[in-house]
Amino acid sequence: MSTEHIRNFSIIAHIDHGKSTLADRILELTGTVNERYKKDQFLDDMDIERERGITIKASAVTIGYEYEGKKYMLNLIDTPGHVDFHYEVSRALAACEGALLLVDATQGVEAQTVANSHLAIENDVELIGVINKIDLPAAQPDVVSEEIEHVIGLRKNECFNISAKTGKGVPELLEAIITLLPPPPDRSGERTAAMIFDSHCDDYRGVICYVRVFAGSLTVKRKIRFMGNSRTYIITELGKFTPTMTAVDKLSAGEVGYVIANIHELSDVTIGDTITDDAEPAEKALAGYKPPMQMVFSDFYPGNNTDYSGLRAAFAKLAPNDASFSFIAHNSPALGFGFRCGFLGLLHMEIIQERLEREYDIDVVQTAPTVSYEVLTKSGKVTKIDSPSELPDVTKIAELREPFVRLEIVTTNDSIGEIMKLAESRRCRLLKTDYISSTRVMLEYKAPLAEIVYDFYNILKSVSHGYATMDYEFMGFEASDLVKMDVLVNKVAVDALSIIVHRSTAEIRGRKLIARLRKSIPRHQFEIPLQAAIGSKIIARETVKAFRKDVTAKLYGGDVTRKMKVLKKQKEGKRRMKSIGSVQIPQEAFMSILDSKDSE
């Protein structure tokens, strides 16, 4: 098939704007998915994805389509919609020439839509504006098309109005994919270059690489070379996802499919790497895309039903299929042996935690997530740390730098005041205000990542009555007046509770943190002082009072069986907590230091 008859495209959308529904509809209209086998939202193939309504890993489907008597091959490369997965969006876009920019007609352009559109434009990806859910009574396609024109720069009269749910407008959209999106350039005569944009490990077939062939072709039994690490393999199988895996003999320039080549370890494959022919290699590798950047770190320790080796084994199985997740062994004086884990963002972290529980039946004690910091020591060395416990002695620090992001918030006019107040309390600096329609505005901030990474989004949602959306993009590290705040439980500093805070807010945060901690640590047989300290200075103090009464008044012969059961249960309850010194600390306490319920 000539490249003239190929279209490679993605769908860019905010969460819940209907991306998966549109994908389903396209698969159905083109007869790609047999009605009998159809599960709703075919592309989301992990349980958690389907439950949360989000797509975590990019998938690719090859669709056959006939237009004006000619056969076309459409490759739909799926993208995740959540802010944490920018990285996955960028790798999907790198494999496409075009994208559908899908916006909910009842919601309008959201922050992520803007961010992902910018990403597409940077990648020279052609965009088609698509307004979805026009069947809903609250739909305002005209207002939304104005927004698209204003914010993204697509012409409002060129947007498509559809309902992915009913199928209205989708056939026209399919035609537009052919007529409006560019075909891949014909580079079949050049030396072979294919980009790996995703991979996963199959228990029986080894590593399966998802590739986009840009130049030349791949054929079965050819010897290929990975340009990043110079390893060579023989291709044992090539194929396409239709959407099930269907073997083919050849993948040519412009096509999307999979490669199986006796690769055993996922770690042997780098996403973004270029596959070329070993005998006639391409001169240079394809330009990659933005590599993943871990923004959030948290320590995971084995919980009561788990041991260290069990947790390690689970991570070892999880990590290979998730290039953006990392774990390294870490020992905490308070919590013992565990792992420092790196994530793209909080959602990513929650997903890993949930998968541990669900797929591996492992429970963990997890510390509050933190961002990474740069430390400039007086000796002039810059090191990156991702835990407060790694901070060198304060006398050795010349400068502490924290990550800043460009934060975009799209909201309705009436919540601007509240949002500005929130942003100010989080040390955000307003860069730009842009009225995108008569009722909605886009605010652009420079924000310290640490201030927005945990609970900012939830509070933003709450103060804007659910209307505001946000997205952020890493800008760089900058010096800040940061201090390490230690938490002492029963006069012992608990490393897992330490946090790095801005000096200006240290005292307030210390007081709130200690107050929350007091509520989450159960009363013990003795009084427990809780203190927040910066260096040797105590900035906040509370006391968990001792309980005074816990005794069965009457215990004679007839009550023993019942009482022993109660006591054993009580002992079990203690076991479920982490014991630090003589203090039993429940898991919630480690997270409570970030709980925002009473912090605003």
Partner: protein, 382 residues
Amino acid sequence: MSDNSKYISESIGLYVHVPFCRTKCRYCNFYSEPITKYDAGAIIKAMIAEMELRTAGYSIKTLYLGGGSPSSLPRELLLELVRQMKQRCQADEEFTVEINPGQVDEILLDKLHKKGVNRLSIGAQSFIQRELDFLGRQHTADCISKALGYGRSAGFENINLDLIFAVPGSSLDSWKYNLNSAIELSPDHISAYSLTYEDQTPIGIDLAAGIIKSVDEETDRQMYEMTIDELKRAGIYQYEISNFAKDGFECRHNLNYWANGGYIGIGPGATSYLRGVRSTNYPNIHRYAEAVGNGASTLETTEKLDNLEWACESAVLNLRRRSGINLAEFKKQTGFDAELLFEEPIQEYQKLGLIEKNNGRIYLTRKALGIADSILCDFSAV
């Protein structure tokens, strides 16, 4: 019936549970039925039959007749039951009968004493009428001193008063009044319990529904502390979490429970414990009587403890005594070295000053008594 012969040398306690009351107290979760609704004679006959069958071959050391309310029985029945019990006890040991102060007179107590009962346990609970009403007791404060006086006249030299503190509405002063009222009567033994709100009892239900409010924890504990101190001053010493006695008047029947010794329980709902097997009779008068009538087992549940469970129970029960675990005795009884078996909690609680070791004993310190469950739970399993 099982072969009792191999335990023949074992000295055990005999508890007989009278499953009747005239009225049910609002805090009580023991099994009992209103006596007016049943043929008490038939049930007592069944209990005597059970007793005959199950005590054969055992050497019985202590007798205890409780309930329910033994004094709610028609007198002939009560005296017959007492006579039957006394028959099974060769030694001249402790024989306690629980009495409701509103249900006894001089003649009855005289007869009980003559039949060999040597200890009375009077369900006094409180000397304040408002509290008695709240608890659903059918006697007055006056009845308590009268009952005790009848007992003394009848020749009882060992009399216990049961008291309840932290009744809603009570204060440190009102509890002090109760304690002093009790002390004035010169009992030999006092059991003082903090009011427990058991599920399914009227007060438990009222508390859960927010209709009544329990005394706050701090006041409750101050009452407890006051009890220990005031009684000590009166020469009545604490020997178990809720039990106090003049020297030599500790209740031997109950001490056997805390020593994890053997006992046979007779009557509906009564529990027996023999060599690591705990069994409980049907807590239902009809099923119980039917089983006895058919010569079938009266046991609803039987639980065999393994050696380790047995050792853990012993530790939990022993630690309720002020004298705690006697290490040598524990080893002899269970085969385990308590210091090794419970090394972790012992060390932990020694550090916190909640457990002490002295003279071959491990025991709870005074400040540990009020929070004993939080400590004992770590001995409940290993």
